[in-house]
Each structure stands twice: as structure tokens, then as C-alpha cells.
Symmetry: C2
Subunit: 331 residues, 2 copies
Amino acid sequence: MDIEDLAARIEAGERRALARAITLVESGRADHREQATALLDRLRGGGREGLRIGLSGTPGVGKSTFIEAFGMMLTAQGLKVAVLAVDPSSARSGGSILGDKTRMERLSRDRNAFIRPSPAQAQLGGVARRTREAIGLCEAAGFDVILIETVGVGQSETMVADMSDLFLLLLAPAGGDELQGVKRGIMESADIILVNKADGELKSAATRTCADYAGALRLLRKRPQDPEGFPKALTVSALEEAGLAKAWQEMLALVGWRREAGQFDARRSEQARHWFEAEVREGLLARLRQEPVRGAMAALAQRVEQGDLSPARAAEEILQTYLRGFAGKGS
Amino acid sequence: MDIEDLAARIEAGERRALARAITLVESGRADHREQATALLDRLRGGGREGLRIGLSGTPGVGKSTFIEAFGMMLTAQGLKVAVLAVDPSSARSGGSILGDKTRMERLSRDRNAFIRPSPAQAQLGGVARRTREAIGLCEAAGFDVILIETVGVGQSETMVADMSDLFLLLLAPAGGDELQGVKRGIMESADIILVNKADGELKSAATRTCADYAGALRLLRKRPQDPEGFPKALTVSALEEAGLAKAWQEMLALVGWRREAGQFDARRSEQARHWFEAEVREGLLARLRQEPVRGAMAALAQRVEQGDLSPARAAEEILQTYLRGFAGKGS
């Protein structure tokens, strides 16, 4: 593969080249990994930077409808919008159950939009790397806004929040005054809560739910990365395309404040460091899945299961046999 | 330290020797670790096995009162009872806020009981190892029942469930018909749910809550490790010492069934294998916190933060510099 050619075509905004590059970073093959790293290195420093917006919402809140309406609004303003999906559950089904493009038909036909479904990978660590790298590729391709959406299963919300400049939580109107069992940790990482379906019969419920969340957000400790009034809760109607411009305005206000305060760059630096550390950990643990360690572990595991060997002793055996030299640089 | 002497005194049931051995397995020092592994090896195969009961309950459900009453009932039957606390939050406060012995005054004076507060360790991995090893020590010391209690913060419930033969969830009566936001995963790992405070004014609320949980449990898929009727929900009153004998009877019935069906041993084998694998991972990652890797990572992290180097490239540099030889056995 001609990395230089691929890089040039990505920078020229060729969507097929971008799609191909993302497939490359998703690959588990060692030679592909080398090419991917070379490509990412080549594209670094191009100076192009998009706004990375994380978006979480459980099935049923109208996430696809929201992304489509929000994305169309942005492309109508001349912005280029990329949508990356992170769905850990797709590892089981071998891909999203509904193709993401079918879900967002209008947006997928928009020349200023690029939609990439979730890859079918078993490990969240792998999904995280692929997504972070795909973000970098989209930025190099000149996308202004990168929406990273997740269904919010397990750790995926935290993961997406950790790679975004802004994190949005999309919710549906709740019945009565109960909050929808949103995990506290997620509430705390949300910058803006959007209560969708503020239309028709659900409009008043949406307004009430929004007020409930606004109240709950006020109870949280103010974060240093927020100006007065943030995090905040807003109502939107993806269906009627209402409240979207207001939401975008709030996002820009928050980002503007953070840039001014130096928080924007500080957050990106911190994210890059975390990413580096996670990559080292992942790379290290990956060795355990390779031969000969893999086979040796399986054999010892059997003896541990049979009670012939204590878990601690068996672990020591693996570490001493295969880790000589590690952390000693040849010692 | 004379490991042979310590082992003999543990096997003779000396509580001070047991306490000293647990301190040894809690230590982070490399020489202590070696001694601990030697001690655990020496004590293996003694053929003594206790029943490992995990117990989770948030503050306020009456966990200490329950453990005291339940423990006293068991010691009155001539059983030896050890209580190990797992409180991840104690890492911050440097130990449990209330000393566990103060919490269970009567039980702590009981000659057939042994109570060990949570160690002050930052990492859940470390707490897990210490607790698993402490269980082994208690069994070698002839304890019949080992209660492993946790406040159920973060991952600690799952961790405790993973090292127990039986897992109990202690809950307080709920107001109205709402379930208490118990995480689904925890419900699914509970063998018996105990609704405490079924006394005085709260008695009818406890009965109602118990019925709610019994209903919720029926909605869960039947697990292969359960006989008909399990998992189940029961009311207890630790204060009035009511329902405890019934609860114990149910625990014994479940354990008896699992032994019969081969599930008991199968679960222990599986737990041992998981423990082994976790130890290898932990041991591997521990190398990153040692020099010279630690220093090299800090230096690279700085370049990554400044944007001089991509996270992926920096990670590769660490892995290639320090992992030569690993997984190649000298290559």
C-alpha cells in the first residue's frame, strides 16, 4: 500500500480514501498496524483540527434522528461532519444490527457528511484505539465536526467522553418525576444534557424532565473546566428540528470559553497522555495472547484448575519465564 | 521470618499468627511477597476448606449488625467464623472510618470469630489478591465460614462475588414500590437477597420490598448453577435476630445442591483460573510502575502532551525498547 498516496488523497478530502484508512486502523494484522502508524504519523501536524463531540444515548431516545437532523443543520452551514459509531454490543452481533447508514439516510447521502458504523471488535480497548485513530483521520480529511456516538453500554460512555472535546447526553422524556437511572458518573461527565422528543404529546414531559435534570446538575460540584451555567440541560426535538440551533450555539459558547481559558488544549494534552498509557498497557497485555505465552498459560491454568498449583505460584512462573529482560533493558 | 513456624501456628488456630500472616500478604514489599507465596504454598493441600460467603450492602442497611448477629448464631453452633472486609473507599481514608471491631463488638470478643478490617490499599487489584490470600489463610487456620463483606462501591461487589461460594445481597426496606436502584449485574450475581430491618415500624415495608425483589428475581433467566427456587429473597431482622436461622438453612441447601451437582467445585476451579490470569496481568502491569520503564514513560508522556509525538508512536517506543525478549523467551 502506498501510504504517501493514501495520505494525499485523505488530505484532499476523498471519502473513499478515508474509509480505506479507517479500515486499515481497524485491522488486527501486524503489517496493517505498521502501515496505520506510518499513515497517522504522516498525517500528523497537518494543522487540521475538528471539534470532537461525544454523544451518548440509549436505544429509543432518538439518537439517529437527532444525529441526522443535527448533522444536516451543520452541513447546511457549510461544515463537514463525520459520524463515528462506538457500539460495544456490535462485537457480539458482528456489526450494528441496523446498518448506521440506513438509520441516517439523508445524512449519508450528504456530500459534506461521512458516516462510519461501529467496527465489530471484541475488545473495548481495540474499539477505543480504532476510534481515536479514526478521529485523527477525519480531522486530517478536513472534517470540522466529528460526532462520536455510543449507545452507552458498560464503559463505552466513559471511553467516548475521554476522547471528546464536548460530551452530550441525549435522553428521552421521563414519566413522572423520576430521573432515568442515569449513572452519576455519566451525569458528571456530560457537558450538555439534551432531552429529545420535545414535540407533540411528549412536549410537556420533556420540559419537566429537562427541569429535573437542570436541578440535578445544579447539585453537582462545579467543574473547573466549566463557565457559569454549565453543565446545562436543554430540550430538543430532532423530529421537528427544534432547539438544534440553540444547542449548537451553547456548544460553541462552551468551547469558546474553554479555548479562552486554556482548558481546551489542556484537555487534549491530557487525553493524549492517557491514550499513550493505555496503548502501552494494551500492547503489554496483547503479548499474553501470543505464543508461546498463550500456550504456557493455558497449560498452567489447567494445573491451577485441578488444584495442583496455586494461582500465585503459577503466575510467578509465567512472569519469571517470559519477563526476564523486561524492565531491565537486556539485563 | 520462620515460615514453617508461622504455618504451624496458623494450622493450630492461633489468631495472632493468622493476623500476622494476613499482614504479610498485604505488604507491598518484594521480600514479603516471596515469604507470602512460600507460606501459602506451605499451607496448600492441608485439606481444610471453609464456606466462602460474600456479602454486599451499602452503608445504612445494617450490615455490621447483621454480620454480628449472623456470626454469633454460627459460633453458637460451634462453627468458627472469619470476617474479612473489602472497602475500596478505605484506600482514601487510610482504613475503615469506623474500625470494624468497634462495629462488631460482641463478635470481636468471641473466641470462635476472627475479624479483619479492610486494608488501606489504593488498587482494587491489590485488594483482590490480599483478600483471596487471606481467605486461604483463614481456611488453613480452620475457619468454617469466611464472610467477605463489601460496601459495594464500584467493582468491589463483582470482585467479592468472584471469590465467594455464595453471594448475599443485604438491602433495607424501600419506600413505596421502587426497587433500590440495585444494579442489574449485582442482582444477577446474588444467590440470596436479604431484606434487613424486618422489625418494628419497617416490618411491613420489608415484607413488601422482599416481595418486589422476589418478583424481580423471577424475571431473571434461571442460572445453571441454581436449583429450583433460587436465587431467592428473604426478610431478616438482624436487630431482633429473626430469620437468620432460616437464611442459614437456605444457604446450606443451596451449597448442598451445588456440591451434589458438581457446581461447587467447578466454580472454585474457575475462580482459581481467573485469579491466576489476573495475577499475571497485574504482575505485568506492575512492571510499568518500576524503573527504568516508569521514567521513560514519564519523559515520553511529556512529549505526547506537547504534541511532539503521537500516542501510538510513543507507546511503540516503550514496547520495543523494554519488551525485547518478552514472549520470545530469549529471542
